[in-house]
């Protein structure tokens, strides 16, 4: 009944526009709002723009294996000719869609992931999805996602880390995963392919470590925000392209390190970031930190450090040994708060603080993420014992709410500066 004639967007077009607007907003901030931008970061900015604003698919003709968490071994996926696509989602647009399908107090990451599946709006739609039974919400979200018509397989994940029984249990699950995937792909897992996959991912991990080394130096040549973007790209990018781009980035950082080019201010406090994972484009808290003159030098999150930190350690390159080593890496080395006891995580954070000479820790939990909210207490206590200042924040995906959070972060960062002055 309108008297003005222009097409109205379909719901899908509207979602895409909303997501594109979210994406470009962050990308423009990264490109323009900080000093000394890194040229080779453009590959990553462009990658996210291509996927989220121009809706380019990256893996046409390949089988896309959706994963709901880092716990699904990419090594096996590559060895079976699949492309892993991690579906943990950071879009507010999808969070809103998911809100109608999930309890109001659910974690925004899950709501966004479920919302994404509900909308069916993928540039690289997963052909099959593997969902490890990690946190309650991820575990339960599986059936909701299945109800939208996706092929989804649960992978049993134990929630204690120490016992020999759970180690066995998880090894069995990983084998089962390999069996399922090999059935789906119509390909048998062989030694050479698995070995190559382990090596390739190992190489990618080594690049991450090289990248991190620059952040240990006094002069920090790269923003934490940029590093999050690089690691988040690993969720879905073609691995060879990612490797090439990261190598370039490292060479540029070498030059910058020599020329003492820094992205920080004169007295920017060094921060370790831990808690619920920042996933593109929900970089709200990291952005506030770095816009408030803090610099994130390291993180302990599953969207970044936790993906790369520990390598698969193989003794004998036969298939059984490789499979067991892969299983162990995902279970033993994981510092996710879904586990009963999680001393490892505290140790990791303290170690990061020391290695990266951080002056404070910022811990953020998504409102609705029970495990991170609960573990806050033990981490805070431990930091207090170590004499490491820590700030705990709760946040969600909504674009408002920024003012309050900035004030708290700014105050924390200022307190770190004061502390430093007093020490001198």
């Amino acid at each position: 009944m309108s008297n003005i004639n222009h097409n109205i967007e379909s719901p899908k077009e509207k979602q895409n526009r909303h997501k594109a607007m979210e994406a470009i907003k962050l990308l423009n901030t990264l490109r323009e709002d900080f000093k000394a931008p890194i040229k080779s970061m453009e590959y990553f900015y462009d990658l996210f723009e291509r996927v989220h604003c121009k809706h380019e698919s990256l893996h046409d003709g390949k089988t896309k294996i959706g994963t709901m968490c880092i716990q699904i071994p990419s090594e096996i996926i590559y060895a079976l000719d699949g492309v892993p696509v991690r579906l943990c989602n950071g879009f507010y647009t999808d969070d809103e869609i998911g809100s109608d399908l999930m309890p109001q107090k659910a974690c925004p990451l899950i709501k966004a992931t479920v919302g994404h599946f509900a909308s069916g709006n993928f540039t690289d739609k997963p052909d099959i999805v593997f969902s490890p039974t990690t946190c309650d919400q991820k575990t339960k979200a599986g059936t909701t996602i299945e109800s939208f018509g996706y092929k989804l397989i649960d992978i049993d994940f134990p929630r204690t880390k120490e016992s020999e029984a759970s180690r066995e249990y998880w090894r069995r699950s990983v084998k089962q995963f390999a069996v399922e995937l090999s059935k789906f792909q119509g390909k048998k897992l062989n030694r050479t392919d698995l070995r190559n996959a382990i090596k390739k991912i190992g190489y990618a991990q080594s690049l991450y470590h090289k990248l991190s080394d620059f952040r240990k130096k006094e002069i920090v040549p790269i923003l934490g925000l940029d590093v999050f973007l690089v690691t988040n790209a690993f969720f879905f990018d073609k691995i060879d392209n990612w490797i090439e781009a990261t190598e370039k980035l490292i060479s540029e950082l070498e030059i910058r390190a020599k020329e003492k080019i820094t992205v920080t201010g004169k007295a920017s406090p060094r921060i370790v970031y831990t808690g619920s994972p920042p996933i593109f484009p929900n970089y709200k808290i990291p952005q506030i930190i770095e816009e408030s003159d803090g610099i994130i030098v390291a993180d302990e999150t599953c969207s970044s450090n936790r993906m790369f930190n520990d390598m698969v350690a193989v003794d004998e390159w036969n298939i059984y040994d490789m499979m067991d080593s892969i299983s162990d890496k995902y279970l033993k080395a994981c510092t996710c708060p879904i586990f009963t006891k999680n001393e490892d995580r505290i140790r990791r954070v303290v170690q990061l603080v020391k290695e990266y000479k951080a002056e404070g820790v910022i811990y953020q939990a998504f409102a609705g993420c029970t495990v991170y909210e609960m573990e806050q207490r033990s981490v805070l206590e431990a930091m207090e014992k170590e004499g490491i200042p820590i700030l705990y924040l709760e946040s969600d995906y909504s674009p408002s709410q920024g003012g309050q959070l900035s004030t708290r972060v700014e105050a924390f960062i200022e307190s770190l500066k004061t502390r430093r002055r007093k020490k001198k």
């Binding site: 309108s2 003005i4 607007m21 470009i24 907003k25 323009e32």
Partner: protein, 267 residues
């Protein structure tokens, strides 16, 4: 023949409509409201009656509405702009179908009004706390982009890239965001488009508070901006109806109200 006038004294403009006994719109006039509401309202009314070759005696009944309605003492009656808007919208859109929801964007505020099937106002929501999401905001944007407000629509449809959203809820901060975008050489088209979507999203939130129903009518000066109309339609996911002369709906409604009141009093 008797005639009836509706005078809508808003924050930025005075709008007058005159209808005949059969509630047909005979003429209308818009002028800036400025500081002297009363004087300008009277002048505008005189000018309009002159144009229509009526004299003031032909005007049987005057209904005033809008923010400044109480200042116009000559009026026979005073009604709220919500009621007047509802009556005017239903009448203006009669040939198109039934109106259930009204979006009105004024100079300093924006409203969403929900009607039942008889045209009674059942709910309304209003934003008059900040300029973002009002006509004022568009003026500020146009000024910053050094263009006429009337050009905004054209720029909107020329946008090729991703609309660049302006996230500040405050017009003052939004202004500096726009300056930032301009400084980084972003396309004006994408900025304009993003501004429209930012307003549209805010408006849709307002509409959601009263409930989105089929039959949406959009009036107020900014409704002349086809880009904004497009953005609201996309955000709502449905067509909206924009009257030919979107600024006078409320005064038109007031004039119609005048006919009913006059008939009631004289029978």
């Amino acid at each position: 023949m008797k005639y009836f006038a509706g005078i809508d004294i808003g924050s930025t403009a005075i709008k007058i409509s005159i209808v005949d006994e059969n509630k047909n719109l005979i003429g209308s006039k818009i002028s800036a409201s400025g500081s002297m509401f009363y004087k300008y309202a009277q002048e505008t009314l005189d000018a309009l009656t002159n144009e229509l070759e009526l004299n003031n005696n032909n005007i049987a009944y005057i209904v005033a509405t809008g923010y400044g309605r109480k200042l116009y003492k000559e009026a026979d009656e005073n009604i709220s702009e919500i009621t007047a808007n509802a009556i005017g919208a239903r009448a203006a859109a009669s040939e198109f179908g039934e109106i259930k929801t009204i979006i009105n964007i004024g100079g300093q505020d924006s409203k969403a009004i929900s009607l039942d099937s008889e045209g009674n106002v059942v709910n309304f929501a209003m934003n008059d706390r900040c300029a973002a999401g009002t006509g004022k905001f568009l003026d500020v944007v146009a000024l910053k982009l050094e263009m006429d407000v009337n050009m905004l629509g054209e720029y909107h449809f020329r946008s090729q890239g991703t609309p660049l959203s302006v996230s500040s809820t405050c017009a003052v901060f939004a202004e500096s965001e726009i300056i930032g975008l301009l400084g980084n050489d972003h396309s004006i088209e994408d900025i304009v488009c993003g501004v429209h979507y930012s307003i549209a999203k805010r408006i849709v939130k307002l509409v959601k508070r009263v409930g989105i129903k089929e039959g949406v009518y959009f009036d107020g000066g900014p409704a002349l901006n086809a880009g904004l109309v497009n953005a609201i339609e996309n955000e709502l996911g449905q067509r909206i109806f924009v009257p030919k002369n979107p600024q006078i709906t409320t005064s038109f409604g007031a004039a119609i109200m005048g006919v009913d009141s006059y008939n009631y009093e004289n029978n």
